[in-house]
């Protein structure tokens, strides 16, 4: 045995072993198949790129979470991607700029983050997602519902139960606070207090707007109830304009995915640094962490790209999905005696067997060997025999 300390990995990194490694690639494959079936085309950006392009645009959200290193070739700073959305934005606005809109793109890949957090201690995990880019004006809402429908359909294919989707209005807090005319210092403190639903702190800071702000924070939960509460509050018109869309979205989701719980938390902002319009997060009652997140945003790339394009999309996190997805379908394994002919093995594999071959006939008992290698069957002298 090798000494234990040689196997030590840095915090947040792990060797994924059997059967989890296969389970992960199965579930990523299932997700990508779902994305394919809705006409989303795959792209595969690199693991590393120039820091500047990784942390601009939607990349600002993960700038602090990005590993940097110096490229000895270009002598410039490189970043290891901490989120793939910024790369998709770059591809959509540059290389795929000439493709017909709306553009449907999907991706999966590993991301690395500087720090894990309490519920997501991993610093490396897989993302898989889909983005619908360039649906402007009246197409925006159908684009949003398409991406949510795709996401829920893909999750369902993984056999996840007790699913819920939490809707939010990512720009509501900052918009409302700017309307209410607070000093920069109070504004920053209020954003934090709203984020933590810290009613005591909101009470202390709100200066006359307590009822409004605390009312907003307390309006969170089952979507229809919350929407009723919000409609009963006297909110500025500029804020209520999205409520019609939310109401319609709730009924669209419930019509197609009646087993999914829809909740609404209008001040939720976590994970929505660059989103606007409507944002959403997927949960399962059985998972400790959120399964994925997404929403509407504008795709930008580079400083001159001030117009950008409307986009709607989402990303799933493999570590949370692994906790709740069903196991990948089992495949029967068969142990082949050393004298099995190549054609025989080929036929068995073509029939869907996993074959594990004895390398030399050393007079060991085939049944014992089969058991040792988790095979339920033995193949010897042209015959398949079950172990028990």
């Amino acid at each position: 045995m090798s000494p234990v300390k040689a196997a030590l990995l840095p915090a947040g990194f792990e060797d994924m072993l059997p059967p989890i490694a296969k389970q992960e690639s199965w579930l990523i494959g299932q997700l990508l198949n779902s994305f394919d079936s809705y006409g989303y085309q795959r792209v595969k950006p690199p693991l590393l790129e120039f820091e500047q392009s990784l942390v601009s645009g939607t990349g600002v959200a993960v700038a602090e979470q990005t590993f940097r290193l110096m490229d000895p070739v270009s002598q410039r700073m490189l970043g290891v991607r901490a989120d793939m959305t910024a790369q998709i934005a770059r591809i959509a606005r540059t290389r795929l700029d000439a493709l017909a809109r709306p553009l449907r793109i999907s991706y999966s890949g590993q991301v690395v983050r500087v720090q894990g957090n309490q519920i997501r201690p991993n610093r490396q995990f897989s993302q898989a997602g889909a983005e619908l880019i360039g649906a402007e004006g009246n197409s925006r809402f159908p684009a949003l519902t398409e991406t949510i429908d795709l996401a829920l359909t893909a999750l369902k294919r993984l056999g996840i139960d007790k699913m819920s989707i939490d809707l939010t209005l990512p720009k509501l807090t900052s918009y409302l606070l700017s309307e209410l005319d607070y000093s920069e210092e109070v504004r920053v403190q209020l954003i934090k207090a709203l984020d933590q639903k810290d009613t005591a702190e909101i009470n202390r800071l709100a200066g006359g707007n307590q009822e409004l702000l605390i009312g907003l924070v307390q309006a969170a939960g089952p979507a229809e109830l919350v929407l009723q509460k919000l409609n009963a509050m006297s909110l500025p018109k500029s804020i209520t304009q999205d409520f019609g869309n939310i109401a319609e979205l709730i009924s669209v989701i419930q019509a197609a995915h009646h087993e999914v719980t829809v909740t609404l938390d209008p001040v939720e902002q976590r994970g929505f640094q660059y989103h606007e319009g409507i944002g959403f997060t997927f949960y399962s009652g059985s998972a400790g962490a959120e399964l994925g997140t997404g929403g509407e945003y504008r795709v930008h790339y580079g400083e001159e790209d001030d117009r950008g394009e409307a986009a709607s999309g989402f990303t799933f996190y493999s570590d949370a999905l692994l906790e709740v997805a069903q196991a990948d379908p089992p495949v029967r394994s068969i142990y082949l005696a050393a004298n099995t002919k190549a054609e025989e093995a080929l036929t068995l594999r073509a029939d869907g067997w996993i074959t594990i071959k004895q390398l030399e006939n050393d007079d060991s008992d085939l049944r014992t060997l089969a058991q040792k290698f988790n095979c339920g069957f033995v193949f010897a002298n042209g015959e398949i025999k079950a172990l028990d």
Partner: protein
């Protein structure tokens, strides 16, 4: 699948602070409609989890400093704990929806009178004994001072007397303990009361029942305030 050690649990688990704070939060718990089973009050009981009058709700009494941790990691859905502990850990996974208005206290800097009289603005570094290293470091960092914290778990007032460090940061309720140990209070870092905290994931996935308890606790607090 991986990593999910799912022991069969009650629908909701509430973490309560053991010790002094427990006595003050029990009436609120009762008023919110939760009566712990009898064995909960038996100091000889070795059990760590207890039933309540509501078959869907269980209680886990833990050290006050651990309440926030149990809730942040989702081992408990709700918790009752002081704002000092919440802010010391700064867990992102916690919501703080109700101020229970109990256990009023403050987190303060204190020192012996001679030390307290000396200005600290010119210093770049201070050594401080405390149970709250994060809040202490942040507070002094705002002043441009690097606080080297010696983490103690109790009897913090002894530290200046025995020469461990000139300053302490600790919870002050009446100020009597400081006085008895010959220390004076210099500055307040934080005013604290106890709060109802909620795990973020539970809030999203069990929103019906969590909202029910948030409302119940809020009404219990308002009731008490009206009665006072």
């Amino acid at each position: 699948m991986s990593g999910s050690s799912s022991i069969r649990r009650k629908h909701l688990t509430i973490a309560l602070p053991k010790g002094r704070l427990l006595q003050s939060v029990l009436p609120i718990l009762q008023k919110a409609g939760l009566t712990p089973e009898d064995e909960f009050f038996d100091s000889k009981s070795r059990r760590l989890e207890f039933d309540t009058s509501d078959p869907n709700v269980g209680l886990i009494p833990v050290k006050p400093f651990d309440v926030a941790t149990f809730v942040a990691f989702g081992s408990a859905d709700l918790g009752l704990v002081g704002a000092d502990v919440i802010h010391e850990f700064g867990y992102e996974e916690i919501y703080i929806p109700v101020d229970l208005g109990l256990g009023h206290c403050r987190l303060s800097v204190a020192a012996t009178p001679e030390v307290a009289d000396q200005p600290i603005g010119h210093l770049s570094h201070l050594r401080i004994a405390t149970k709250y290293p994060n809040l202490t470091r942040n507070f002094f960092a705002q002043k441009g001072i690097q606080a080297e914290c010696v983490k103690l778990n109790g009897a913090i007032e002894l530290a200046p007397k025995l020469g461990l460090c000139p300053y302490i940061v600790d919870i002050v309720t009446t100020g009597n303990t400081l006085k008895a140990n010959g220390l004076v209070e210099m500055e307040t870092i934080l005013e604290a009361t106890s709060r109802l905290i909620v795990n973020r994931n539970s809030f999203k996935t069990k929103s019906d029942s969590i909202n029910h308890w948030i409302t119940a606790f809020r009404e219990a607090v308002d009731d008490k305030a009206d009665a006072a």
